[in-house]
């Protein structure tokens, strides 16, 4: 399958997005903010369709909206980010707006499916370059904030007393989550971002009790699931996103069983 250009690009694109999603997702799960990550992806749908309506690149709209919303959620602090109802309302509002934009943007049926469920085989070289640059920038930013982020995630009050600016850390992190969500949406679509962001990270936390090992495992599992899904899709001709969700689900439920057994 590697004789095809589009397959090589797809492997590279899904690899980059999966590693970023696995690492960022680990901290998202650690902080208990997975639902906020899910909501960000729906906001991204609004951004992408809105951008398309105004003749801009959907990817720019996607990244722009998720990052700005992420920062906003972070600045509102835990008060908003932890409120399921507020997030759920925002999520449906965002999807509704996206639907409205699609309604006005007539040639959109295939575009909508690609946004909602992903189209990794449609990624071209320039899109791949965007993914790589954004992923590297996000990981660099994450490296700078990761120590206070872990401290604040585990023990917010103690971290605050030691001088960690909680609100800034939270906003910076959710901005990074915004980028990771946008990258994943390119691969599996906005509706299935959970499968690469949360599935591997949650499984890693069930398999490992150590932090560094857990982060590495999350990235590794996400990469395996993305590439495995791509390979299975190539030979079965079923959708890539389906296979990735299937693998992600399988690994997650296996991790639950493993956790039961090891205690």
């Amino acid at each position: 399958m590697f004789e095809y250009d589009f397959m090589r690009t797809a492997f590279a694109a899904s690899g980059v997005a999966a590693i970023l999603a696995g690492i960022v997702g680990f901290f998202l799960v650690l902080r208990g903010q997975t639902f906020a990550g899910h909501a960000l992806s729906h906001v991204g749908f609004t951004g992408a369709t809105g951008a398309a309506l105004f003749g801009l690149s959907p990817f720019v709209g996607l990244v722009g909206f998720t990052v700005v919303t992420g920062i906003g959620m972070g600045l509102f602090g835990e008060k908003l980010a932890e409120r399921d109802v507020a997030i759920g309302m925002m999520l449906s509002l965002a999807l509704g707006l996206g639907l409205l934009f699609l309604h006005f943007y007539t040639s959109a049926a295939t575009q909508a499916t690609a946004l909602l469920f992903g189209n990794v085989l449609g990624v071209d070289d320039s899109a791949l370059l965007n993914l790589v640059v954004l992923a590297l920038a996000s990981l660099a930013a994450l490296a700078v904030i990761v120590r206070p982020l872990i401290f604040a995630s585990l023990q917010a009050e103690l971290a605050e007393a030691r001088g960690v600016p909680l609100r800034f850390v939270s906003a910076a992190f959710l901005a990074i989550v915004g980028v990771a969500v946008a990258e994943c949406a390119q691969i599996v679509g906005v509706l299935l971002v959970f499968t690469l962001m949360v599935g591997p990270a949650a499984a890693a936390q069930n398999f490992s009790r150590r932090l560094p090992a857990g982060v590495a495992l999350a990235a590794g599992l996400a990469l395996l699931e993305a590439w495995g899904g791509l390979t299975l899709a190539f030979y079965s001709d079923w959708p890539t996103s389906f296979w990735i969700t299937a693998l992600s689900g399988l690994v997650y439920f296996a991790s639950l069983a493993a956790r039961r057994l090891t205690g």
Partner: protein
């Protein structure tokens, strides 16, 4: 040098004066039990010393220096300890995250940091505990592990907010013994807040009693008396001493026990991160 000095400090939260023109001095190396009813300002006092709660008037100095945020000469053990999310992680990783978590930039956990963590763990006999998952530890073991974090950076003042809460009597004794040992070995000043005086009464040097916006510091025998406590509680209080133990009574009710029970009921709500009003 004094470890902690409050001069005419007034702290107002939600329109209520938690402290009004309160003054007291904690000397270096003193083990102080901090007591008072719910809402009398035990947590607020500690947060003010850490620079987390603003004061309306007066002055606070820590080791003769003005209050600053992130002051590394203070070790702190908050009452609301979070940790629900990371329950699978080992204790070591939790303590390590605190040891290197205060600064931005990708700090490595180098030899010096590891030695510092081991030193802190050893002082509370938690080196073996740290290898286990935090969720597997009993309440007392967990408390020891969390206490070790307060020692990171070798502070000169420890602020321990209700370390005995929801612990069995045997564990309560072990935590108090560790605190006393820390004072003796490290010559470190300790403020240790509690609902009940009796677990502390034989270990502390002096008691700091809060109530009605005031703070009274002194030896237990001088502070824990009917007249002083009646003023702090704003009600008729009788102090009964039996075989070295102290019971604070308001009419027929034992005041401290009652406060403790209320706290037990409230704990579900106190889990939120809403600072200030939820636990003052």
């Amino acid at each position: 040098m004094s470890a902690l000095r409050f001069e005419d400090v007034t702290i107002r939260l939600g329109g209520r004066d938690i402290l009004s023109a309160a003054s007291f001095v904690v000397e270096d190396g003193e083990f102080i039990g901090v007591l008072g009813a719910n809402g009398s300002g035990k947590t607020t006092l500690m947060r003010a010393a850490l620079g987390l709660t603003p004061i309306a008037s007066g002055a606070i100095s820590v080791l003769d220096q003005p209050v600053t945020r992130g002051n590394s000469s203070i070790g702190y053990m908050p009452q609301n300890r979070g940790l629900a999310t990371g329950a699978r992680l080992t204790g070591y990783d939790i303590v390590a995250s605190a040891a290197i978590g205060a600064r931005f930039g990708f700090a490595r956990l180098d030899k010096a940091k590891r030695r510092e963590i081991d030193w802190a763990l050893d002082h509370v006999d938690a080196r073996a505990l740290a290898r286990r998952s935090i969720g597997e530890l009993s309440g007392g073991e967990r408390q020891r592990l969390l206490l070790s974090q307060a020692l990171l950076g070798r502070p000169r003042l420890l602020l321990l907010d209700e370390p005995l809460i929801s612990l069995d009597p045997a564990y309560q004794k072990s935590v108090v013994d560790i605190a006393r040992r820390l004072r003796d070995e490290l010559r470190i000043a300790i403020l240790f807040s509690a609902h009940e005086l009796n677990p502390l009464v034989n270990a502390i040097d002096r008691v700091l009693y809060l109530g009605a916006g005031a703070a009274v510091i002194g030896p237990v025998d001088e502070v824990v008396t009917g007249p002083v406590l009646s003023r702090l509680y704003g009600a008729e209080i009788e102090v009964v001493r039996v075989k070295g133990r102290v019971f604070v009574m308001a009419g027929d009710v034992e005041v401290e026990r009652d406060a403790h029970r209320h706290e037990g009921h409230d704990r579900g709500d106190v889990q939120s991160h809403d600072h200030g009003a939820a636990h003052v």
